[in-house]
């Protein structure tokens, strides 16, 4: 590891990154992955990328900010940053998060209690740059200097900081080195929230400067608002894909499935993360099998965004967040459904059920429910004939942060797996104390330059350690094992993470959702719904 990083390094005018990580710096993984020399080498950031973009922070580049062409352009960008900073603290511009932001700015005691809770900081071997308070402290000093206009007294009391374009460029990147899992906030004795700081910085960059990770904005929320889904599927394409899945699954299971579309007055409008339809078609198929078998009157919607529950605005932009939430609610309102049920997508759960609750007013405030709850009720009601012996393999459960720590849906999915998986075991820690998969806040879909190297080596490391420890007694590849992750985003990260470390080949650990386990245990369908070749 390079020399310890100091806050003032953020303003360093040279173009050298502030830090560089080697495999030896990282926390060791459990055996047999414990030899840093045998770990992957990091793909270096290309010279072209370094030349073209502001990659001044570390070994990678998440946002690809074009380099300003002149000093004047740099100064303009700094001025826009300052303008955005003051808007973050104004009622009219940021009523959405003003109170928590103010409190976090004004009351952090800098005791560093949060640091040990952060999986990124820990996995990096305690690299100062990734300490949860590092970016918060930069922002705090900027707040007291430029928003509160503290002058010399403010600098003495709160610390000084030099603002220039390299600092802003680094801060943009640094706001994308946090999974927004808020595990740090959970441990803060005062209630300060460093995750919120990363969130608010991303907002400032997006809402004022028009700067965001392209996977979240251009090919994320904008594409969703344009065609209906960030996958690029419009209503016709998604219907075709679902029809294909129905046909395929009917043939496989022997149960005739026909997914209902746009059924007015349905009890349930199910909204999947549309990524499931393309990447894990067995997931929507399993939902269709369960809901049909349970006699639920349900439907999908073909309205714009009504078939894709993702809401990337949650991670970087309040306006985009509100727009997508409104689209989801409008789809439900149009069909006059009794409730929206969110499929297996953690951030969609939190976005629509929790955060959007104070955006959706009047008729738009349609009741929203977690699929975990509905599935628990179905499984526990005895409406399905289930044979747990069909799931007679070791199973562990990953807790998506958005579903658990940030929404409090902890037990329903556990009741299900305890009922249908005789060899279920918990990860440690789990529930509200879980660790993020490392793909949270959009990282799972961000693959520019060598960013995946960072998210597998650093942000996903703690989760990989947990998974391997959960199956420590049966790592032998002769025993197939199932990592249940009821969240599309987490599955995206786990798919890539497990592949990166060849976990299927070495240990036969398959990841998948909850509904697949339920269908796999359904006695009325042909055995073997879960195919171990899905890895």
């Amino acid at each position: 590891m390079s020399r310890p990083i100091r806050l003032e390094d953020m303003s360093r005018p040279d173009r050298r990154p502030l830090t560089h990580l080697e495999n030896e710096d990282l926390i060791p993984l459990p055996a047999p992955l414990d030899d840093p020399a045998k770990d992957h080498n990091w793909t270096p950031l290309s010279e072209q990328a370094r030349e073209k973009y502001e990659c001044l922070l570390d070994d990678t580049c998440a946002v690809s900010i074009p380099r300003p062409k002149s000093k004047e352009e740099e100064d303009q960008l700094v001025a826009r940053f300052l303008s955005g900073l003051s808007k973050l603290f104004s009622r009219e511009n940021n009523w959405t998060f003003l109170q928590p932001l103010l409190l976090t700015m004004e009351h952090c005691a800098r005791c560093q209690t949060c640091s040990e809770a952060c999986h990124i900081f820990e996995a990096s071997g305690g690299n100062e740059l990734y300490r949860p308070t590092f970016r918060s402290e930069v922002m705090r000093r900027l707040y007291f200097k430029y928003v509160k206009k503290g002058g010399l007294l403010g600098a003495w009391q709160h610390g000084d900081i030099k603002l220039n374009w390299p600092m802003v460029a680094r801060l943009i990147e640094l706001s994308y080195r946090c999974n927004l899992c808020r595990r740090c906030a959970q441990t803060c004795p005062i209630g300060a929230d460093n995750g919120l700081v990363a969130h608010e910085l991303r907002k400032l960059f997006s809402q004022e400067m028009g700067i965001a990770a392209k996977e979240l904005h251009d090919t994320g929320s904008m594409l969703q608002l344009k065609v209906g889904s960030s996958t690029g599927m419009n209503a016709e394409v998604v219907k075709d894909n679902i029809a294909f899945i129905d046909e395929d699954i009917s043939e496989k299971t022997g149960i005739k499935i026909e997914t209902p579309w746009d059924v007015e007055g349905a009890d349930v409008l199910l909204i999947h993360n549309a990524g499931e339809i393309l990447a894990w078609p067995e997931n929507p198929a399993a939902f269709a099998l369960i809901l049909t078998a349970a006699g639920i009157k349900w439907t999908l919607s073909s309205e714009l965004a009504g078939y894709d529950s993702i809401n990337y605005g949650l991670w970087y932009d309040d306006a985009q967040f509100a727009r997508v939430a409104v689209k989801h609610a409008e789809a439900a309102l149009k069909l006059k459904v009794k409730k929206i049920v969110l499929g297996e997508c953690g951030h969609a759960h939190k976005a629509l059920s929790v955060v959007a609750d104070r955006v959706l007013m009047g008729d738009l405030n349609i009741p929203r429910e977690s699929s975990m709850t509905l599935l628990r009720d179905i499984v526990m009601s005895g409406r399905l004939k289930l044979d747990p012996s069909r799931n007679d393999f070791p199973v562990t459960l990953h807790d998506p942060c958005n579903l658990v720590r940030l929404m409090g849906v902890v037990e329903p999915q556990r009741e299900v797996v305890r009922t249908i998986c005789p060899k279920f075991r918990e990860m440690e820690p789990h529930g509200v104390d879980n660790y993020c998969c490392g793909g949270g806040s959009g990282f799972a879909i961000m693959s520019g330059h060598n960013f995946p190297d960072w998210r597998f080596h650093v942000s996903g490391r703690k989760k990989l350690e947990q998974i391997l420890k959960a199956f420590a007694d049966c790592l032998d590849p002769a025993v197939p094992k199932y990592l249940c992750a009821p969240c599309s985003n987490c599955k995206g990260q786990l798919r890539d993470l497990l592949a990166y470390y060849n976990i299927w080949e070495k240990h036969r650990i398959l990841y998948g959702g909850l509904v697949e386990l339920i269908v796999n245990a359904m006695a009325d369908i042909r055995p073997g719904f879960i195919e171990w070749e899905w890895h």
């Binding site: 998060f97 560093q112 441990t187 209630g191 727009r323 529930g431």
Partner: protein, 311 residues
């Protein structure tokens, strides 16, 4: 001299109260933000609070009565407030320094309250303070005050040493942080020394408190003790201006953020407040936001920039 000390104490107390109220009012007046709770939320029903669950674990939760467990909140709040439970759990080395400091402050505050209560009684009904009540009271405020001051000094010195020696803290420590801790050490050190070295003729703490309340300037305040009292008043006035007022901030971070799980469907008042916020006119400059200063948050939320571009 005595009158000046009294005046400074009055002003310090007033500044503390006014500063604290102003800070609390400032936070209370901020808008009801979007929900941002963190689980566990202790006022949830006990069987759910145990595992950190929420009412979202129930199907059709909006049709059910949301129960609020005050006992659950108290069980979380009291150990946190009195014993700094979070720090104990997540940062034991810091707790060993911070807990004596904070607990010392509680003891000093308790001692002051006892003294003031005793002083009021001594002015209104002096007979009530005859032995044994007066004796017990004397021992209580004296013990709490002395123990508190010692703990504050020890805690502040330990925190100071940690801030100076610990690499994890150095990067984040400002001159103001060091000053704050030294301010506590100096104030309580001088108060303690002033009390312990009081001259034989000193009238006692209770009569000093009573004369402070009645503005009886006939009481002689020993110089060192007077200096300690003046510093204490200055410290009290200073605290609300700094992050050390986290006893105020913490109320909001817990009750208004971490534990605020109120669904809008259950609160007409909340819906009215949000309806007002949706009429605000933001000025964010990025083009996709479309905030031109005339459009409200509601207009912006209902707009679709992706399709506007298409047109």
């Amino acid at each position: 001299m005595t009158a000046i000390v009294y005046l400074v104490i009055y002003l310090g107390a007033l500044a503390f109260l006014a500063g604290s109220v102003a800070r609390a009012a400032r936070y209370a007046r901020t808008p009801a933000h979007l929900r941002w709770e963190l689980y566990p939320v202790p006022h949830e029903e006990p069987e759910r609070a145990r595992h950190g669950g929420s009412y979202f674990e129930e199907s059709d939760w909006w049709t059910r009565t949301v129960r609020f467990s005050l006992w659950g909140e108290l069980k979380a709040m009291i150990p946190e407030m009195v014993f700094l439970k979070g720090l104990w759990e997540f940062n034991r080395p810091m707790w060993t320094r911070s807990f004596p400091f904070h607990f010392g402050l509680y003891l000093v505050a308790a001692s002051m309250l006892l003294l003031l209560a005793g002083a009021l009684v001594s002015l209104a009904a002096p007979k009530l303070l005859t032995a044994p009540v007066g004796g017990v009271l004397h021992h209580l405020y004296r013990t709490a005050g002395l123990a508190g001051a010692v703990l504050v000094i020890a805690g502040a010195l330990a925190l100071l040493a940690k801030r100076l020696a610990d690499d994890n803290l150095k990067n984040y420590t400002t001159p103001g942080d060091l000053f704050n801790l030294l301010f506590f050490v100096a104030t309580f050190g001088i108060l303690l020394a002033g009390y312990l070295l009081r001259p034989p003729g000193f009238s006692g703490s209770l009569s000093l408190a009573a004369s402070l309340l009645s503005f009886d300037t006939g009481v002689q305040i020993p110089g060192l003790l007077g200096a300690g009292l003046v510093l204490g008043a200055a410290l009290a006035a200073y605290i609300p201006l700094t992050h050390m007022s986290h006893f105020i901030g913490k109320y909001f971070t817990y009750h208004s953020i971490r534990w605020d799980d109120q669904p809008s469907v259950k609160s007409e008042k909340l819906r009215r407040r949000v309806a007002e916020y949706l009429t605000y006119k933001p000025t964010w400059a990025a083009r996709h936001v479309g905030a031109d200063g005339t459009r409200t948050w509601a207009d912006i939320a209902m707009a679709n920039p992706a399709q506007e571009v298409k047109k």
